[in-house]
Symmetry: D3
């Protein structure tokens, strides 16, 4: 469950894929309850029928949170998450849609201020059961280097 | 609860602030249950005692989701959320910390492909009870223009 | 979010209406779990099929609690809730029904013991998606007076 | 679990008492999530410190719902609940307070329109661990008569 | 609610039956969240369609926990639960199945080390709405004797 | 996440250990809500103070369910769980205790009726933060054989 991995060990292009998970009405109700976002887009099926998408849609923060949770694997104590870039909601996720996530190491770069760590970028792509991309983001991981860089 | 607002109506520098909310142990347990992220950083107080931060910390996705939920106000049917940029976890949030959010219109810009909408950027800053910044992100809102632009 | 309002500022006949919210199976299961009321009327769809109403019905306390929560707007620090009168369950609410609430200031009266506060009565009417009244109650608000009364 | 009881079987003065239940922070967070009432009185321990009561208080609808749930005993298929009168919040309930409920048959009366049913009034008194009354209400039960009345 | 019962008071062959309870999608999502078991058997309806059982199935620990909870009746302070034997998952339970439990005193025996207590075995049989047995186990209750035995 | 393993691949004596998880008040409240077991042992801190154990204790089914969830690793599609033997509650688990689980392959045996499968017994031992054994059980796994046995 713990697995040490240095900056140098990550390879651009590496890919892993999660199992699937069905987004249920329960998930939406619990997420509304956790966040306090009771917008009719998520909670009012009558109003939704009058809108373009025709039915309730999952909160963007729900899909993002669940998808990130799904990517959790072994714990690397040499790295930590410090943020996300370019999070985009591409398509709505409806009740009963089943999502899975593909994670790709898309970039490695120097950190502006730290010579002993580097930035690893994990591109997270979330797909529904029709293999349509519904959400995408870039996870920024700060990983310790085996050998400090001298280039910054 | 519904309030129409065009791209032209947003003013750079506008600011609003939410009420506060205490992040409880319950929030963390429910978020773990929703996302499946049971990492010891959030769930194992004995292990946390052996780490630098000394106690359980809230999931980044929990603070992000709750903070975004807290900013939900009137519904503007002329705009929709299409993503977030530069989401950063600045400081850990511990059980019993109380957060609030300050939202500032930080930018307005043209959309690369749509002449009838513009992008409004809401900078969301999340503070704890010591007024320390714990999380920051930029919310991207696509808002309809009163008058289509001709410049793209 | 905070908005001061004195007894004198409430007008009989004032009305506001909430957005809608669909009552889900999840709401019923969570309410049973919170209250410990697992009566077959709410939890056993086979038994319900043998009854007049033919399907599971929401707990009265669920509809009441959700409806009151839906009416929460700006916080008036000059008033506080001290109870409810004439709470009546008019019609059952089924899974997937969507409710909304209409609040009307129906009465203002003196308080028996306090000259510096008055009682504001908010009539709360809960409707389903067919605009049938399903629950009604009177919310009693004790609001500070701008000018103490001398009449009691 | 099912126990038939006619209007005539209820005796004014009959009394029963529930076991106790501690109201936890979890109960408040779940109730906020179910109702959407995230008022700082319940959710913001920093703001509460600046108020008279000094700490977070349970929602009135939470105490009411839990207390009513606690009184659920055998199911009487000859009676049904049709409402509550004179619900009053007497004292705040704080996190870690332990409540129990005393139910007393306080009145029996004819129903204005039904000769085959009568109204049984159950007075529900909720106490905390200091035996202080925190909430009171009158539960209205419509119970079938063994013998229809002729008096209305 | 409290009811004293000695070892001698339990009769082999005694039987009681619970009310029914429908196992909902919500129960499965909450159980996954509580236990961290997000296996696709419970959470991925697309994957389940490719399997023999064709749809999501409830966790074994969910059916066991709910069934045991359903058997909770009066509290006997002269006895306590010390375990279960021969817990078997006979048939899968699907979303919307309604279960009930039959409890039979199936055995009484001496405890290897205690002369003042005896072991009461409660056979718990869980059935679905088609009266098919889905789960069975033996609950071991250690009950105080009125008169200590001398036979061990 | 999927990993095929035949009966022959399991070795008696093999051992794995889970990470830790703190059992919170929230876990107990959610488990009471899921199972309907609101016994004062779990829910009434005042009553618990008058008992030998002095404080609220976790439900046995909670610790069992969480512990089993914690042992979930790779999915072996050649095996399935068919029950548990000798589940024993050795010591109470209190709020804030942190548990972890040690799984040992303790036995392998023939199945009475199936020549193409064998029974693998996983002994699950649950420990608290003081390394005291709190719960033990034997998980029965029915695993496909590479080569059918001829001995039954």
């Amino acid at each position: 469950m713990f697995q040490d991995r240095y900056f140098e060990d990550y390879q651009i292009g590496e890919q892993r894929q999660t199992m699937g998970r069905t987004i249920t009405e329960t998930d939406i109700v619990i997420h509304a309850g956790q966040t306090g976002d009771f917008y009719p887009h998520h909670m009012d099926r009558e109003w939704c029928k009058t809108q373009d998408f025709g039915q309730r849609i999952a909160h963007g923060t729900l899909i993002f949170s669940v998808a990130i949770g799904m990517t959790a694997g072994a714990i690397n104590q040499l790295a930590f998450s410090y943020g996300y870039d370019r999070l985009r909601f591409i398509k709505p996720v409806f009740i009963n849609d089943t999502i899975h996530v593909r994670v790709t190491i898309s970039d490695k770069r120097e950190h502006a201020k730290r010579t002993d760590h580097g930035v690893v970028v994990e591109k997270c792509e979330v797909f529904n059961q029709h293999d349509e991309l519904v959400l995408v983001c870039e996870h920024l991981l700060l990983a310790r280097r085996r050998t400090p860089t001298t280039s910054i």
